[in-house]
């Protein structure tokens, strides 16, 4: 109940910034076009690269732009800043679980980001290129995959935020993670386009669970047992990262240095 309310308050907190949402949506949509045209050029040269046809590639561009907000692929967690300034003292004093609290907060944020920023890039792609729109069953399958992607994303960002207890400043780590996210999630180029062993490795890393896997589910590339395998892959990473987060939370409690007095 408490955590549901935290999620709801977080949703409302994020809706307080309308201008920021509009700005982000415009930017996400604009880059959707940019990426679509780049992929169109690539697919002209290699028409069935990675099992995608050119419409899949265009759809991929707009869809993954719509995922940036909810999965928060380029962002950190507010918690990192709170550890840095010492405001985490407030969080630690609450009779609540730190990780659950921030997960609830992040789910609220993701829900808001999906509803406010998710539809414009897809609508633009549909109007201009007639991108693939999923039916109800496909859409539901995609939403579950998106939820798992948000959990994996939270799991990673929570670890980075907690690292601030040890390294005192997350900006360096966040920059590294951001680069990884850019290359390894599929945001720059669909991971299916990566050749051979490199492709196999990047598709096994957690970043694939953020963008590539939900996109494949959306495009209907994962069906039947393969869809379950996709979910299992995402859920496995989510579980591993969340459990690691739990262990790190306990360690942080033990070796706590509250910064800023």
């Amino acid at each position: 109940m408490v955590y549901a309310l935290v999620g709801w308050l977080s949703f409302r907190r994020h809706s307080a910034y309308l201008a920021a949402s509009i700005g982000a949506t415009v930017s996400n949509t604009f880059f959707g076009f940019l990426r679509a045209y780049i992929l169109i050029a690539v697919w002209k040269y290699k028409p069935d690269l990675g099992g995608y046809d050119v419409l899949d590639a265009i759809t991929f561009s707009f869809l993954t732009q719509a995922l940036i907000g909810p999965v928060q692929i380029f962002g950190g967690l507010d918690l990192a800043q709170r550890v840095r300034t010492g405001d985490v003292a407030i969080d630690l004093h609450r009779p609540a679980d730190l990780q659950a609290w921030w997960l609830a907060d992040d789910l609220g944020r993701a829900a808001h980001a999906f509803l406010s920023r998710g539809f414009a890039p897809l609508a633009a792609g549909w109007l201009v290129f007639g991108i693939v729109l999923p039916g109800p069953a496909q859409g539901a399958a995609f939403l579950l995959s998106l939820l798992l992607a948000v959990l994996v994303g939270f799991g990673m960002r929570y670890l980075v935020a907690l690292a601030v207890f040890w390294i005192h400043d997350a900006r360096g780590v966040e920059a590294i993670i951001r680069s990884c996210a850019l290359f390894l999630s599929g945001m720059l180029m669909p991971l299916v386009a990566f050749p051979g062993a490199v492709g196999a490795v990047v598709q096994a890393l957690p970043w694939a669970a953020l963008i590539q896997v939900p996109a494949d589910v959306y495009l209907g590339k994962r069906q039947g047992w393969d869809l379950l395998a996709a979910y299992a892959f995402q859920a496995g990473w989510a579980l591993a990262l969340l459990l690691l987060g739990r262990a790190l939370t306990r360690a942080a409690h033990r070796r706590l240095v509250i910064q800023g007095g």
Partner: protein, 319 residues
Amino acid sequence: MIQLSEVSKTFPVRQKTGRLRRGRTLVTAVDKIGFEVSPGEFVGYLGPNGAGKSTTIKMLTGILSPSSGRVRVAGLDPSRRRTELALRLGVVFGQRTTLWWDLPLRDSFALIRHLYKVDQRRFAARLAELTELLDLGPFLGTPVRQLSLGQRMRGDLTAALLHSPALLVLDEPTIGLDVVSKATVREFLARINAEEGTTVLLTTHDLGDIERLCRRVMVIDHGRVAFDGTLDELRATAPADRTLIVDLAGDGVLAGLPDGVRLVRREGPRSWLAVPPDVSAASVVADVARACDVADIALREPDIEDVVTRLYRGSPAPA
């Protein structure tokens, strides 16, 4: 309510010792302190910056665990039973807020109701009561980011007290507040302590808070308890000079100062004299009046500020 014995807290601090090398030094923030606070007390916890006040508070609330020693708050070991303790404890960190920045004050309170498992009827009654005492009515629906510092602090106090804790711990609750807001907060705290019997531990740099509120004062310095007693005892422990202000008539010259009395400052006909605690002010007045032509004379008692300054410095301060 609170028992500390032989409690220490050390932090490793990393420092650059060479171009690439880093050394670790241990900093002792709190050094074997011990004290007890009984239910219903209102205790001031004073100390200069870096003395160990906030560290103590974080150990009391269970956020930090002590490196050694024993801490008990409301009968519980705070760092082991942090969640359970939080339900019996209210904390306000003056420089931080527990309220949701972008949402109306009311929403933060609703969340606190669930967090602290207060049932709806008790919550409504308690909120109404605190709203009246702290005059929150006009801004309950205002987003916290739009509140003034004074309003926000009243909101934070309410948040800390909605679950009616037996112990309230305040870390600089009046910091940055104007005179009127300070007065409101002080009056409220005095009332909570007197009427509800809430035990209060207050850290502050504002000695006005202490004079107005605290029957008992603890001073911590360099991680140790330097003083623990009443305000009057504090004044007596570190006696400071009183100041005698003498206005001479005409162009007279000040004369007849008894031994030990020093001339501190002089401006035109007015002189400021430092009178040590062991010299009778009456005899100084008599001596000066006998020796020269005095137009007016006034005596100022040392204020608590001077006393504490001396205590912090650990040696008599020059007047």
